[in-house]
Amino acid sequence: MTGRRERAWAAAILIALALLTALPRLIPRDSVINFVFLILLSITLAQSWNIVAGYAGQVNLGHAAFFGLGALVARTLWIGGRPIVTAMVAGAVVAVLFALLIGVAAFRLRGAYFAIGTLALGEILRTTVNNVLPEISTLPAATIATYSLTRRYYLALALAAVSVVAVTALAGSRLGLGMRAIREDEEAAEATGVGALRLKLTALALSTGLAGLAGGLFAFYHISYYPAHPFGPQWTFDALLMTFIGGVGTLHGPVLGAVLYVALKEYVALHWVDFHLLIFGALFIAIVLLLPGGLVQAAERVRRLRWG
């Protein structure tokens, strides 16, 4: 995870994203644009989860709560007449505030307890939203009439780029270094003056802020959905799987993982309609068993073999 290699990856990914701006003009087919949109959204979501997991070393199973909060606030403000970017930012702010509120308590937990604790918190939020807002949220007809997929696509591109830049900046910064120190050995890090709680909270803020923005994007994109839907655990698991497949704690891991995951899921869903979740679950287990560090670690291993 040297600075130079990460920056090289970041450059490569940003170039790829820049090239993708040409996509709507080259291939103006909705199915393709929707597909790439999904990948871009997934990249952002996975990168956001990666910040806490990969850099601060904690498995947050309630990540969807922040995705959902961002979506909820953004949707409400946007339908109420605010410009979408303002609404999205507001959603992110709410997500971060909620995160900081519970973060202080949540970070008292370690390992498995943090994981299940955050899972429970996510579920509390989902159940509450489900009870308070059980009805489907649909865009007003006027908005649907002027729905522009390209606009949403570009926003997704921008957001994905932001997430990559944010993680790169984080990894190279003193903040990132401190976080990695905590991940390796929290007690030792504390002893050398690294304020663990403050760093973890900063990581959490960044992570949930990005997730909130992604949620806003989700709210902007979908014409109708149940408000509780983006709070569902499957969004957390998706982010988790993607990051894991690609490699936790690396810059490019979530990106590779997102591309692979979405592509694979679409492929399996198309060809094995009935069994795709089953096959997916089985594939995932295989990956975890065989490659505990994800594909990135596998690549490392191959490299080490070939050059001794």
């Binding site: 498995v59 199973l61 308590a105 949540a106 008292r108 937990l109 390992g111 498995a112 307890y113 994981a115 299940i116 604790g117 899972l119 429970a120 918190l121 579920e123 509390i124 159940t127 509450t128 489900n130 009870n131 655990p233 698991f237 988790l240 799987l241 894991f244 009935d274 069994f275 795709h276 979740l277 089953l278 997916f280 679950g281 089985a282 995932f284 287990i285 975890v288 068993l289 505990p292």
Partner: protein, 289 residues
């Protein structure tokens, strides 16, 4: 007033099943330090197990326990050999993370399999005595659920004795306390893990059977019951099966009280809130060590 008492009673009756569901999870986590988030799916499979045993063999659903429990035991052994047995080779922190991930994959796969095989509809088993009740003062006690509570208690009591008296039961407890010391005493801890996982799965199967008998089963009860079991495990703490049973009863009653006070939808939330509070305030639970 008597309405509240009736609600609390029903909460108590399902609480016993919460306790049974949690016991299996607690055993596995306590011994192997593996958090099997597919535990709820195993309960779900047990529930479908009884539906099919009753349909195919015409047995009384309670008698079907005698078939579902051994089958679940076998399933647990297979899952350990094929899956979780590999997870335990890593150190504790990696173990927990990997088991979480594998559990998710497994839960996803099992859920999808169930939907594929049996559709998303609810199933239940019908018995001639289904509506039988016994009246104690103003309370009406559904007999089927009462019987389930008794059976759940008996199973947990049996587990407690197993762990206290059986040679391998003691070995399991020793492994849970200090696996390295257990190895030094000549215990093959892989065998201890296998037994713990198989027994845990058997308890899940039994819980699933009782859930179907008293209520119903569908593919989606998996996550719901995993969370219930988790809440009880955290509430009661590790190390005491009887404590876990009591924790289950407490959760059931708390849920009923909250539903009676704040309305139905908040029944779920109270459990989760208790969970989080206990985790933060007293992580080792009410009865844990």
């Amino acid at each position: 007033m008597s309405l509240l008492a009736q609600q609390l009673l029903l909460g108590l009756l399902i609480g016993g099943l919460y306790g049974l569901a949690a016991a299996g999870l607690s055993l596995v986590f306590g011994v192997m330090k593996v958090l099997d988030v597919a535990h709820g799916e195993l309960i779900m499979l047990g529930g479908y197990g009884v539906v099919f045993v009753v349909a195919l063999l015409g047995l009384d659903p309670f008698a079907a326990l005698l078939i579902v429990i051994p089958l679940s035991l076998l399933l647990g052994a297979v899952l350990y050999w094929g899956l979780f047995g590999f997870v335990v080779r890593a150190d504790e922190e990696t173990r927990v993370k990997n088991s979480l991930l594998i559990g998710f994959g497994l839960a996803l796969a099992l859920h999808a399999l169930a939907v594929q095989l049996w559709t998303a509809d609810e199933r239940s088993v019908v018995t001639p005595y289904a509506g039988a009740v016994v009246s104690v003062g103003p309370l009406t006690i559904p007999l089927v659920r009462l019987a389930s509570l008794v059976i759940a208690f008996a199973l947990i009591g049996g587990l407690h004795l197993l762990l206290a008296r059986w040679r391998w039961g003691k070995a399991i407890r020793a492994t849970a306390e200090d696996w390295q010391a257990a190895m030094l005493t000549g215990i093959d801890i892989r065998r201890a893990y296998l037994l713990a996982f198989a027994i845990g799965t058997a308890l899940a199967g039994a819980a699933g059977t009782l859930v179907t008998i008293g209520y119903s089963v569908s593919p989606s009860i998996g996550l719901e019951w995993t969370l219930k079991a988790l809440i009880v495990v955290v509430l009661a703490g590790l190390g005491s099966m009887l404590g876990t049973f009591v924790g289950g009863l407490l959760l059931g009653v708390a849920e009923a009280a909250s539903a009676a006070s704040f309305g139905g939808p908040y029944r779920e939330v109270v459990g989760l809130v208790i969970f989080v509070v206990v985790l933060v305030v007293r992580p080792r639970g009410l009865f844990g060590r």
